[in-house]
Amino acid sequence: MNCKACESILAEYALGELADDEAALCRAHLEACPACREALAAYTCLIGVIAHEPAAAPTQAEGAAMARALDGVDPHRVPARRTAEPALQGLPAFLAACAAAFVIVAGFAIAVAFRVMSIPVPVGVTGWAGVGIAVTVVVFLTSFVPIAVTARRRPLNGMTFRR
């Protein structure tokens, strides 16, 4: 075992979390390497300070605010499926992107179809392309927008602080 390999597991060695064979290898290296012994002493000290520094205790006001916040908690009110939440958070933006792509692609497709089938289109509006885009905008407004609005109205992170 070299110094780099030893140092990468020193924290676990200091915590006594290594398997016996790995700990034996580490111990053998430490006996021969003053620099790694110094590193072990430093890590032991660092870990000790990090682990044992007393936690910041909540003040009386913070404790009271916490208790008031819990007064309003009703576990039965919230749907149990937490996993749906991250997907929903990006849903409106995703739907908007899908809708934009759909408008562009469908606009061209419908316009080309009108052209191929030689269907007469009203002259003076914006020609055959305008009709195609107008149809897809109507499709978009009647399908995607209501879904996006519904998704946005759902309270995803609507908790408020209680002081």
């Binding site: 390497c33 660092l46 819990l70 908790m159």
Partner: protein
Amino acid sequence: MSEISDEELIARCAAGERGAMDELVDRYHAKLLDFALRQVHNRETAADIAQLTLVRVCERAASFEARSSFKTWMYAIAVNYVRDSFRKRSARRESLFSELEDLTDAAASSEEPSPEDLAVEAAQGSVMWRAVDRLPERQRMAVLLRFREQLSYNEIAEVMGAPAGTARSWVYHALKALRRSIGLPDCEG
């Protein structure tokens, strides 16, 4: 109620038992406040994060499926709130940090501490905690979750949404940085 496991406690919370919620607060309010405070360096924001986390835990208790440990689940929620606060207040945080650094520099230049003072300060851990504060966000979170909250690398990975090897690497580099910051050289070999 202190002999009850976290998992049993969360099941009681899911049933709406207020006593279980209070016990959960007794166990974790201080820990979450401490964790958040060491990330955001602002007492009020940290208190909000701790409160929001515990409220969310109690509200979503029914969705806890025990696929991971309770602590992993709870700290994942806390880390999300910490990251939210970073995003929302990044501009203000920068100015706060620069003010803090100015104050620290001013205090340092006003009176040069003696080696004895430095030794005492180091012994009290304040030098080390300042070094922890200066670590990159992910390294700081990982090292605190590893050694202060006693989470395994797999649990840290789950909390922070990264592979376990990456979590291990964050902790390793954090320890090396902390070691340098308290004046000990790296190994040569």
